[in-house]
């Protein structure tokens, strides 16, 4: 139950606001901009953080995901694939290079560089250097130059399962890979936007050459996703890819997707400690040095927050200055109002109201004004965001599905309350000091 004093303050404060609508409105106008500034800064910071996080998550993985790196030696890829088979709480991916287009030609973007930098001369990444154990380095002998042709080079990412729970790729067109069906003899691939751009721009024939494959394949393009990478990439099922790769018996040292070659990236759900332990045990058992097994949680948010904190503080400081102007407005109107209401306040004390309650009434009025203004500013902020998203949302995919952050609402309410207290405190003290005898001398 609310106390009599609190109820009295609210009732009389409400009466005061109703009686001085114009003054209340003028107070609100000056305060509105201040609270709106706070709401906008807070909302902007939250949305920017979420957008940045979403972009980072595309590459680094969702926050909290356990990411592991396993060297692609001693049969590790096979062990990992077998262990993760049929599981949805972990996915492994292994990368390689592939060329799509005319066989036997130099790709337009040799080395898998973004097409923006293709045909600009020089090698993407510069000459390769090889260093021996003693630290002596020498330039690697460049392979024989092939004739230019209609082909592009892409990073090929083979997946043991659906990676999207760990990396939230945004669909652009078509569909994602179906991991529930039987492996297809013609591998289905999903392109990232850069790879799709290359295929479309250079009218590339649909033939794919994979290093180490027994022969060329004709892939089926299932769809296009946004994956946050600038380089052209394609995604495909590891089991479908293996259809085109030689078995261990056909090669001397096995192929990279079975036994040797680049390492694997493994993504595990948070709390998958048992699975992580199982993988470690199997891999160490296969002879892989445990020093080379790295598992760590993705903490992009924490890293970004420290980067955003300074920027947010600067903007909040600016918003606070604007808010102070609003506070000055309330203070000004509040002092003028107290001056006008001297007799009313003296009379209220004469009929038994305490000084504290009188101060409480003045504070209640400014607090109610502050809260009302905060509600309007929050509403305006939320409506403004919706309008902005409708107008500009299509230009910024990372803003898709953005809603007004509740943190901005809380910041607005706090700003309204703080402004109400700061703007009402001095008038409240003045009101409490009005002598009752004022009514006698009037």
């Amino acid at each position: 139950m609310l106390s009599g004093k609190f109820r009295s303050a609210l009732v009389i404060g409400g009466q005061g606001i109703r009686a001085r609508k114009l003054r209340t409105f003028l107070s609100m106008v000056s305060l509105f901009l201040g609270v709106l500034a706070v709401v906008t800064v807070q909302a902007g910071a939250e949305i920017a953080e979420r957008a940045m996080l979403t972009d980072v998550e595309l590459q680094a993985g969702k926050d909290g995901t356990i990411m592991g790196y396993v060297p692609g030696e001693k049969g590790a890829p096979g062990i990992v694939e077998t262990t993760l088979k049929g599981r949805s709480d972990a996915v492994a991916m292994i990368g390689s290079q592939a060329i799509i287009g005319e066989p036997g030609v130099r790709p337009i973007n040799e080395g898998g560089m973004p097409f923006e930098y293709a045909n600009q001369g020089g090698n993407y990444g510069g000459p390769s250097m090889i260093c021996d154990a003693s630290g002596v380095c020498h330039e690697q002998k460049q392979p024989e130059k092939k004739p230019d042709g209609q082909a592009i080079e892409v990073s090929m990412i083979a997946l043991t399962g659906d990676i999207r729970p760990f990396k939230p790729f945004r669909p652009v067109s078509g569909t994602w890979l179906d991991f529930t069906s039987a492996p297809s003899l013609a591998p289905r691939i999903v392109l990232n936007e850069e790879a799709a751009k290359g295929l479309k721009q250079y009218r590339i024939p649909g033939e794919m050459m994979i290093e180490g494959a027994t022969h060329h394949v004709t892939p089926q393009i299932a769809g296009v996703v946004q994956d946050g990478y600038m380089q052209p990439r394609i995604y495909l099922r590891l089991d479908e890819l293996r259809t085109w790769m030689p078995t261990a018996a056909e090669t001397n040292d096995g192929n990279r997707f079975r036994g040797g070659g680049p390492g694997l990236e493994i993504y595990l759900e948070p709390g998958s400690d048992d699975l992580q332990q199982l993988l470690r045990s199997k891999l160490i058992g296969a002879g892989i040095d445990q020093q080379n097994l790295h598992f760590q949680p993705v903490n992009s948010k924490e890293r970004m927050e420290s980067e955003l904190r300074i920027m947010r503080l600067i903007f909040l400081g600016m918003a606070f200055l604007v808010l102070l102007i609003g506070v000055a407005g309330i203070l000004n109107v509040g002092l003028a109002t107290v001056g006008e209401r001297v007799e009313e306040f003296a009379l209220r004390r004469a009929v038994g109201m305490s000084r504290m309650l009188l101060a409480g009434i003045v504070l209640a009025e400014t607090l109610l004004t502050g809260l009302l203004t905060a509600a309007l500013a929050i509403g305006a902020g939320a409506a403004g965001l919706q309008v902005a998203l409708m107008m500009f949302g299509h230009r910024f995919p990372s803003l898709q599905g953005t809603t007004f952050p509740w943190e901005a609402g809380v910041a607005g309410v706090i700003a309204g309350l703080v402004a109400g207290v700061l703007g009402g405190l001095i008038p409240a003290i003045r009101a409490a000091r009005i002598p009752i005898a004022t009514v006698m001398r009037a």
Partner: protein
């Protein structure tokens, strides 16, 4: 043999009693004594008129009685209890519970109706009653002064006499023990002034004490006791 015992009625303390009250105005310049050793008593149901010239200390005395201000010397008893050094918080509670105030200017809030102006004395942080009960109390007070039919009217639509009766209803709504009226007819014509004095006198018939500060000897003569202040002392 012992004498037969005669039953003695218990002595009831006065409603209020002031002993040797002195009030000195300390401002810029020389201190000025407004009241000097004033003794004053009011019994339940008694009406007292205080006459005096301007500056004789009438309003100052009323403000001391109403706990608006503190005396520099002397003692103040209410129902026999010494309240001379009452802290402000308790003084506010006493003002609410014991006193009703009527002023020369009516001090009605123009944005509130007559009923809301009367209810102002109930919404003062000294306890809380439900809206329905408040409304009933307000209507009873307005009926007591004969203007219940004007409950919803704003002060701007009321005559001077009606406004003063609203102010009296505001003073009565908490059923005080003492009404303190500071020249309540000063802003009214003779006929309306007489009506207002009658309304105030009616309250004493229900046991309420009345202290009326006035310049009007005709109104003063209607009170049970008339006292005149001159240079800070009662003659």
């Amino acid at each position: 043999m012992t004498a037969p015992q005669v039953p003695v009625a218990p002595v009831q303390p006065p409603l209020l009693q002031l002993n040797g009250i002195t009030k000195v105005l300390k401002g810029q310049g020389e201190p000025r004594t407004i009241l000097s050793g004033v003794d004053f008593t009011v019994q339940p149901g008694q009406s007292v008129a205080i006459l005096g010239r301007s500056g004789s200390g009438k309003s100052t005395l009323l403000s001391l009685i109403g706990l608006f201000d503190r005396a520099d010397e002397g003692q103040y008893f209410l129902h026999g209890n010494d309240i001379t050094k009452l802290p402000e918080r308790k003084a506010a509670a006493l003002r609410s519970a014991e006193f009703g105030f009527v002023f020369q200017r009516f001090f009605l809030l123009k944005h509130l109706s007559a009923a809301q102006n009367v209810a102002m004395a109930l919404v003062n942080g000294q306890g809380w009653s439900a809206r329905r009960k408040r409304k009933q109390q307000v209507m009873e007070a307005l009926e007591q002064v004969g203007i219940a039919h004007l409950a919803k009217s704003k002060p701007s639509r009321l005559s001077g006499g009606e406004q003063q009766r609203v102010a009296i209803a505001r003073a009565l709504v908490r059923q005080p023990r003492i009404i303190l009226a500071d020249e309540p007819t000063g802003a009214l014509d003779t006929e309306t002034g007489n009506l207002v004095v009658e309304v105030l006198l009616n309250t004493t018939r229900q046991g309420c004490g009345l202290v009326l500060v006035t310049h009007d000897h005709d109104h003063a003569r209607k009170m049970g006791r008339v006292m005149e202040l001159r240079d800070g002392r009662f003659n």
